[in-house]
């Protein structure tokens, strides 16, 4: 009764057999060993299981595994490029934006989904966007600062890249 699913996870093609009742979170963690996404509530209220599905932020506990057939999934394991941390990961470390760390993968994935589109997001926008992610340790202060810092870093890199491009063009 299992369903054959062909999908792409962190840019790698993946084939799997999933029961129709299995959530994407369950399959990521229990079948594929990608335990970076966490189960905090299993009903879409804490964001600890956040992944990006075809560019859109989702709670993987509320997506069925069979639904990701033919789609692109990005999990926390796919955020860094090899050993190079994403600016968000680096800023979370520098700003001490984690204590226990259980919510951290979800926050980083959620913030990536925001900054990929809006690296200029301000504090109000960041707080609004992250309201689907619960953190019980930090009081959010340092998380918000880390996301704002990562946004600035990403804007910097983008402008450096385009400046370089222009220089090369001449």
């Amino acid at each position: 009764m299992k369903v054959h699913v062909e999908t792409t996870i962190n840019s790698e093609p993946v084939e799997l057999l999933a029961e129709p009742r299995q959530s994407l979170l369950e399959v990521l963690r229990d079948e594929l060993g990608l335990t970076g996404a966490k189960e905090g509530c299993n009903n879409g209220n804490c964001g600890a299981c956040n992944v990006i599905l075809d560019g859109r932020l989702v709670n993987s506990c509320c997506v069925l595994a069979v639904e990701v057939s033919g789609k692109q999934v990005v999990t926390i394991e796919g955020v860094a490029e090899g050993e190079t941390l994403h600016p968000l990961q680096q800023k979370f470390l520098e700003e001490a934006a984690l204590q226990c760390g259980i919510c951290t993968p979800g926050f980083i994935v959620a913030a990536k989904a925001l900054l990929d589109r809006e690296p200029e997001a301000d504090e109000a926008r960041v707080r609004y966007w992250l309201a689907g992610n619960l953190c019980r340790c930090t009081g959010y202060d340092k998380i918000v600062r880390a996301v704002l810092g990562a946004g600035a870093e990403m804007r910097n890199r983008a402008s450096n890249t385009s400046n370089r491009g222009r220089t090369n063009g001449y």
Partner: protein, 753 residues
């Protein structure tokens, strides 16, 4: 912002990247639910749907017949254990009660009380099997509120008598304990009073709300060895509790602590660990158990709801003359509320000449409470700090100046009667008074500014570490304190300071109960303090050993050498010198090595004070309270890693904001919690709070080599009262019940029927 002068350090006070950071930002860190063993089964728990019921029979035959089911346990599988006193991490309690809380025997005492568990080849099969277990209950009347439970005609949870100062009571009751604290002459004190305030307050049960649900995995080998992987604040505490409940020698139990996704005191008791072990024994396979979020709310330990009455008097010029307090706390289903801590802490910030406090620990048909960040203190401060605020107003004093006039200081009677040593309440009050925040104007018709103070004892207890050198000049630090908020790094920094090396050259590892000396829980704000002392002791031991080795290398006497700035130096000939790194290399070249240990009972604990300032705005249409600005001052002794100190303060404040404004166990009459999800149990989100300004005050603790006090708990003490005081200034209405939800604000202030 860091206030106060202090000693200069090389590593302490800097902000290195935490050692476990990369694992935690990349998803590699292994938490409780991430454990996966070969051949592992998955187990789930069946829980009582009734708040109070006799369990007449349990028939699991249909569940056992379901393909994929490998084992079922009920209370009948648990050994009878003695009614001995057991270490509960941050408190003590009866082992028999703890065992019955883990798995109900003849009676279910709260909705969510475990009555059976199933291990199966998959989670889904286990869940299907739970539905096939037939339990015959005889439902009994339930009692949910502390004052109802104290009535003589209340339904009894246990046939137990009240322990009190006057001895045991005549007849059984739900009052487990009555404590009393008295000093001075109350009548005389109130006789001197020119203003008196008397008010009563109630608070509801609230949960720690850690984001990681409990998860435990166990194996039980045929040679009797039991291994438990679990997300806990105290591996050694869990070992002791599990061995007691399983009636197995402690040496047969090894507990491997996983990374922990928050605890705040709630992960100090066993829940599934002994159940998973029995399922493992019965099935002959490793068993992993997890809770879902509803089980965490209904089946683990929140903190007490309370009823508190305070009468306090002062002279016209603002000197406190007398305080009388009555506190009754809900313990949940078994005795052990933190009422005594509430009783002792709420008066600690002040010099009160005459005082009488009665404290009652009361069982009700709700989950057995567990520790929650400064257990017992926030509810008592919610009451006391509002009474103080009202007295200040009545005598026409600024609320911070009123507190300053009455503040405890070195020499004031401390909790338990002994005088305080160096403490920082006055410094916190001054820092709050002088803050930009307090000096700034606040305008607007429904805006108000509130202040409140808080005290927490902090804990010492036992810590042990092992330290060894590597040939490349780095150091391994083996410790047994679960790292919930960066303590690998705060300990590594103290070792680095002691040895004169960098924090990055220390490699901290948290190990299992077989691999390091005894460590008490990560709780009581004690790890950076007490494990820090063990680290210091190990570092000093290592320095002595390194001096001895260097003496051999130099052909000198050890007495001629000293350890200074990360090197062993000849006292009279400074050209004779080995840096730490050179010495490590040479020691290994000579086929030797150095290992040092530190093991302490953390004496010299320094109590922590905090003073908070908050601005709120109350929406008259919706009743919603918005936090506009928040400043928290706190005496931390010495901030080892200021960023993580700020983080503790900010996190404690926001938990306090949740407790003040939204969080509560909301029950219907039969005793069902109606909001047992993160949707309905409304914890603060990033959108609900502003940046939290943490003002670090440093009054070094004379009882610690680096002046450390505990940091983690006291920041949750003042927020409830600070916000209530702010709401009062905004609306003119005193808030005597928590939470100050929109509905309650509308009812108390804006005339909603």
């Amino acid at each position: 912002m860091v206030i106060e002068e202090r000693k200069t350090y090389r590593v302490i006070g800097t902000r290195p990247i935490r050692h476990d950071g990369i694992d935690k930002v990349t998803g590699r860190a292994q938490y409780g639910a991430d454990i996966r063993l070969s051949g592992m089964l998955h187990a789930r728990t069946l829980r009582s749907p009734h708040a109070h019921a006799l369990i007449k029979s349990i028939d699991a035959s249909k569940a056992l017949a379901l393909p994929g089911v490998k084992a079922v346990v009920t209370g009948a599988d648990f050994p009878e254990v003695a009614d001995s006193i057991e270490d509960m991490g941050e408190a003590e309690g009866s082992l028999r009660d703890l065992s019955a809380n883990v798995m109900a025997r003849d009676k279910a005492l709260y909705r969510g009380h475990a009555v059976a568990a199933v291990a199966a080849t998959s989670v889904h099969v286990a869940l299907e099997a739970l539905a096939l277990i037939e339990v015959d209950y005889e439902v009994l009347p339930a009692v949910l509120d502390v004052r109802d439970a104290m009535r003589s005609d209340a339904p009894l949870l246990h046939e137990r008598k009240t322990a009190s100062i006057a001895g045991e009571s005549e007849k059984p009751s739900n009052v487990a304990k009555h404590d009393q604290f008295a000093w001075g002459d109350l009548e005389d004190g109130f006789g001197q009073a020119e203003v008196v305030v008397e008010r009563e307050f109630t608070t509801e049960m609230v949960h720690q709300g850690y984001i990681e649900p409990h998860a435990s995995t166990a194996t039980w080998n045929s040679d009797g060895q039991i291994t438990i992987w679990t997300s806990t604040q105290g591996a050694f505490t869990i070992r002791s509790q599990a061995s007691g409940i399983l009636a197995q020698p402690i040496s047969r139990v090894k507990v491997i602590p996983t990374e922990i996704g928050g605890g705040f005191g709630g992960k100090t008791l066993v829940y599934m660990e002994p159940v998973a072990a029995i399922l493992a024994r019965k099935s002959g396979r490793p068993v992993k158990m997890q809770m879902d979020r509803t089980e965490v709310f209904e089946g683990t330990g929140p903190t007490s709801g309370s009823y508190i009455r305070i009468k306090a008097g002062a002279t016209k010029d603002g000197k406190l003359t007398a305080v009388q307090s009555y506190l009754a706390y809900e313990a949940g289903a078994y005795p052990g509320s933190p009422v005594t801590a509430g009783a002792m802490t709420h008066v600690a910030p002040y010099d009160i000449p005459n005082c009488l406090i009665d404290a009652y620990d009361v069982v009700v048909n709700k989950p057995k409470v567990a520790a929650y960040r400064a257990p017992g203190a926030p509810a008592a401060a919610f009451a006391m700090e509002q009474v103080i605020d009202e007295l200040a107003e009545k005598v026409g004093s600024d609320p911070l100046q009123f507190r300053l006039l009455n503040s405890s200081k070195e020499g004031t009677r401390g909790p338990g009667g002994r005088p305080f040593k160096a403490i920082g309440h006055e410094q916190c009050l001054r820092a709050a008074f002088e803050s930009e925040h307090y000096k700034s104007p606040l305008e607007g018709p429904t805006r108000g500014r509130g202040v409140a103070s808080g005290f927490w004892f902090n804990a010492g207890m036992r810590s042990s570490v092992t330290v060894s050198i590597n040939p490349d000049g780095t150091v391994n630090l083996i410790e047994g304190s679960t790292d919930i908020g960066g303590t690998r790094t705060s300990l590594a920094m103290q070792l680095a300071e002691t040895l004169g090396i960098t924090a990055e050259d220390v490699k901290p590892t948290v190990v299992d109960t077989d691999s390091v000396g005894y460590n008490d829980v990560t709780g009581g704000s004690r790890v950076t303090f007490a494990s820090g002392m063990a680290v210091y002791e190990a570092g000093m031991d290592m320095r002595r050993q390194l001096i001895a080795r260097a003496a051999e290398l130099m052909g000198a006497e050890a007495e001629e050498l000293e350890y200074r700035d990360g090197a062993v130096v000849h006292k009279t000939d400074e050209s004779k010198r080995y840096s730490f790194k050179q010495l490590c290399e040479r020691i290994f070249e000579r086929g030797a090595t150095v290992v040092a240990t530190g093991s302490v009972v953390g004496r010299g604990v320094g109590g922590a004070f905090a003073t908070h300032v908050v601005d709120v705005e109350v929406d008259p249409e919706t009743g919603k309270v918005d936090i506009l600005r928040y400043t928290a001052t706190q005496d931390v002794g010495t901030a080892i890693h200021p960023a993580y100190v700020e983080g503790q303060i900010q996190g404690g404040v926001v938990q306090g904001i949740g407790w003040a404004l939204n969080e509560e166990y909301y029950y219907n009459e039969p005793g069902q919690m109606l909001n047992a999800s993160f949707l309905d149990y409304r914890m603060p989100t990033s959108l609900d709070v502003p940046m939290i300004d943490a003002v670090i005050v440093e009054v070094p603790n004379p009882g610690h080599p680096y002046g450390v006090r505990g940091v983690g708990e006291v920041p949750i003490v003042p927020p409830l009262a600070a916000i209530a005081n702010a709401v009062y200034r905004a609306t003119g209405v005193r808030q005597q019940k928590l939470p100050m939800s929109p509905r309650r604000i509308l009812e108390t202030t804006f005339g909603l029927e």
